[in-house]
């Protein structure tokens, strides 16, 4: 029992951090459709750095840094220019897939040629490490909750997400606020995606761009109304489901393909549930999420 719960931790940490980062960023009003591509890129960069340096933590840090640079880019472009957030996000999704293949395939060959054992470059999954992983993820969630709920930064982020025009008129530098949200959000997405290759999967798979874990994190965040504390709940749910896919599969007598489909169906179902229940009213999306922002927009 304990063993099984511990086994969930890497999956939970990955999903939770990615969903947290995503939700935090979206609170500022930027629609984040780049998530899956940059998740894949972060996971690949973590793998590459870890394999070359044989130090998983360099991989973790490197992935966070690269992803947060992308966060800055998205936040800046989406706010300074009246662009379509959707198109911007999707373009970076494709770039993320492409870059991760360009970066990952040679590293993968290198690992193969050197016959590197994954244990030399991944995070050892000892109980202590996992407990620290769990505790630190939860702590990050609590801190984000505090920031959003109690601090000036939180108010600035929420204001930028609700109505950037009004936020600006109230004295908020919307560009800067969203860039901050982008840095923090994407640093967490980078962190979570690094855990994906270095803790959860212990390795890199050339079909990584087909897995769609970023989208599952997207759904986890949405189904919790982007609230850090509630996200803990939805993330554990999905972590359990994905981790014990095999158990579920056998228990319900499903084939492997159906089991692979399951997280997506549950994701769609939970988003739907979230939207048809009164939760939606309580935790509605930021009003200006994804709306192109033009400072001198016409109102009359």
């Amino acid at each position: 029992m304990i063993e099984e719960l511990i086994g969930i931790v890497p999956v939970f940490a990955t999903y939770y951090l990615v969903a947290l980062g995503h939700g935090f960023f979206e609170k500022s009003g930027v629609l984040n459709l780049a998530i899956d591509g940059l998740f894949v890129l972060g996971a690949t960069i973590a793998f590459a750095l870890a394999a070359y340096t044989l130090n998983p933590w360099i991989g973790v840090i490197g992935s966070s840094i690269v992803c947060s640079l992308f966060g800055v880019f998205i936040a800046y472009v989406a706010t300074k220019l009246p662009v379509s957030h959707g198109a911007l996000g999707l373009s970076l999704m494709f770039l993320g897939y492409g870059l991760s293949l360009v970066v990952g395939i040679p590293v993968s060959n290198y690992v193969y040629a050197k016959a590197l054992n994954p244990s030399t470059y991944t995070v050892p999954a000892t109980d202590t490490v996992l407990v620290v992983l769990l505790a630190s993820s939860i702590l990050i969630g609590v801190v984000l909750h505090y920031v959003l709920d109690r601090t000036k930064l939180g108010a600035m982020i929420k204001a930028s997400g609700e109505d950037p025009h009004v936020a600006e008129a109230l004295g908020v530098d919307v560009v800067r606020t969203r860039v901050i949200a982008g840095v923090i959000g994407y640093a967490l997405i980078g962190l979570g995606s690094a855990y994906f290759t270095l803790v959860w999967r212990s390795g890199w798979d050339p079909k990584i761009y087909l897995l769609g874990h970023g989208w599952i994190a997207f759904a986890i965040s949405l189904a919790a109304g982007r609230q850090p504390i509630l996200t803990m709940l939805t993330a554990s749910l999905f972590a359990g489901l994905v981790r014990h896919q095999y158990v579920v599969q056998v228990a319900l007598g499903l084939s492997t393909e159906i089991a692979k489909m399951l997280p997506f169906i549950v994701a769609l179902a939970s988003m739907t549930l979230f939207y048809v229940t009164p939760f939606k009213r309580k935790m509605a999306s930021p009003k200006s999420l994804g709306k192109p922002y033009y400072r001198e927009e016409r109102t009359v």
Partner: protein, 517 residues
């Protein structure tokens, strides 16, 4: 702390002799938008200790001017001089740091955030990780000093319109404003509250600050302002000291000569309304905005053929929701709506439109037009009945409307977004007047129009009722408009109808009292 709390009083302020240096000067400011020159080479000084009224009809460029001063808009040409120093005001943050603060007509506040959150985000002295409640004491103190009571931890959504405007004032004081830009912020307030604001402004200027007061009520401006500046079509056409200003002169500056004379043409009335069939019947209507929060509370009313029923009230007393429920845009919680005897309650706009309803919405850009589409397409969207569009016919019809209503547009195939606010409104109003067959619901139909166009639209509405027997439900924040057009007047307050008056026996004071009570 702020200018108004300090005791320093400038002497001889009403004369504005040239020894006093202006706080802020505008030099040759020009600002163009697609299709309109909003400001054309405007130069203006704002002196310490004065209330400067900025007058001009709708679309004259008043808001554009103060938005430039507040850093919301970038001027195309010209410069701004603040405290003797040439300054490019880059953002509201920047403006605030120079002591310039804007109080707009529709409150610039985020509804879902608390008052404290709304206020702290503009305060530069706090770091990003500062706790929001750090400013609570200061906010309460300022609120008390101007004599209002409110819980600053509550979300702004729970405040009334007046309270929201007061929060904006608190904000200005919290930010230690020296120049207060008031853009029609008092226009919609009930008269008693309005006086309170004027007293506040006076105290503020006595402390050495200055107020730019935008309004289109000439008489009021003459009463409270020290100087009056008049904008017309983006040009500054006159700056007059209060002592020398007469109402007629100011009016003439604002509108040009022609209008002033024919302001008082009597409109025709439909005879024997009482015998007419009821076009619209609303019974015990309740509409809620959020769970359990009713904004329309048991409204019953009816409109007969050829009758104009006016609903007077202060903005935000449930008018928007009432109108939207009748049109079919929102579902009421309880009660019934009948149009031409057909039950249309909560059945959507498809049905009401089919029954010949015309709708002039309060927010034209949202419910009235699609600005990326052409004028022609905006007309065709409601006019064409069949599946195939015959563009030649649509084009002819559109050209006719453009001529009749004097819409300033090069041709019917330009996108609506290149039209100025007033012309956009004319396209919308002309279309709805053309398609209304049973009932016309008009919500602030002349708000964005200049005086001449407003006259035209009012006359057309009346003619629609008298000539074609269409019932009209006129909801307007402009009491004069309601009094002028209506056969019957209902007063709405807090979502309830609190008074019914016949056009022949109106008591203006009584109506105003009911609106405010």
């Amino acid at each position: 702390m702020s200018a108004f709390l300090s005791n320093k009083v400038f002497s001889n302020i009403s004369k504005f002799s040239r020894e006093v240096k202006p706080l802020v000067s505008l030099r040759g400011i020009t600002k163009k938008f697609p299709g309109v020159v909003a400001l054309d080479n405007v130069s203006l000084d704002i002196y310490p200790g004065e209330i400067l009224a900025l007058l001009g009809e709708n679309g004259a460029g008043k808001s554009t001017l103060v938005k430039i001063l507040y850093g919301l808009y970038t001027p195309d040409k010209g410069e701004v001089i603040v405290y003797g120093e040439k300054t490019k005001i880059l953002s509201p943050r920047h403006a605030v740091s120079k002591g310039i603060v804007l109080v707009p007509q529709t409150p610039h506040l985020i509804d879902s955030l608390s008052v404290l959150e709304n206020l702290i985000i503009g305060l530069r002295e706090y770091g990003v990780f500062a706790r929001v409640d750090l400013i609570e004491d200061r906010v309460r103190e300022i609120a008390l000093s101007i004599g209002i009571e409110l819980d600053p931890r509550k979300p702004v959504a729970t405040l009334s319109y007046t309270q929201k405007q007061l929060v904006s004032i608190i904000r200005a004081l919290l930010l230690k404003a020296r120049v207060l830009l008031v853009d029609e912020a008092t226009t919609l307030l009930p008269s008693r509250e309005k006086e309170k604001f004027y007293t506040l402004f006076r105290r503020f200027t006595e402390g050495g600050g200055s107020v730019v007061l935008i309004t289109h009520k000439v008489v009021e401006a003459l009463r409270v302002a020290d100087r009056i500046a008049v904008l017309k079509s983006g040009r500054l056409v006159g700056v007059i000291d209060r002592d020398r200003a007469r109402v007629e002169d100011v009016r003439k500056l604002m509108f040009g000569k022609t209008v002033t004379n024919n302001l008082q043409v009597r409109l025709k009335r439909t005879e024997h309304i009482d015998g007419g069939k009821r076009v619209l019947e609303v019974m015990g209507l309740w509409v809620s905005r959020w769970f359990g929060d009713y904004v329309v509370r048991g409204v019953s009313l009816s409109v007969r053929r050829g009758e104009v029923v006016g609903i007077a009230g202060i903005a935000g007393n449930g008018q928007e929701e009432l109108v939207q429920a009748i049109v079919g845009l929102v579902k009421p919680v309880r009660g019934s709506i009948r149009l031409l005897g057909v039950d249309v309650t909560g059945k959507g706009v498809e049905l009401t439109r089919k029954l010949g309803l015309g709708y002039i919405p309060d927010i034209p850009m949202r419910y009235g037009v699609s600005i990326d589409n052409t004028i022609e397409e905006n007309i065709a969207a409601l006019l064409v009945r069949g599946k195939i569009i015959k563009w030649r016919r649509v084009n002819e019809f559109t050209s006719k409307l453009i001529r009749e209503y004097d819409v300033k547009a090069p041709h019917p195939r330009v996108p609506v977004k290149v039209l100025s606010g007033g012309n956009l409104m004319k396209v919308l109003v002309s279309r709805e007047l053309a398609i209304a067959r049973s009932l016309l619901v008009a919500h602030n139909p002349t708000r964005a129009l200049d005086e001449v166009s407003a006259r035209l639209v009012r006359r057309m509405i009346r003619e629609k009722a008298v000539g074609e027997g269409v019932g009209v439900l006129l909801v307007s924040e402009d009491l004069d408009e309601v009094l002028e057009l209506s056969d019957r007047i209902l007063v709405i307050n807090s979502g309830r109808i609190v008074g019914v008056f016949d056009a022949n026996r109106v008591e203006r004071e009584r109506i105003e009292e009911l609106m405010v009570a």
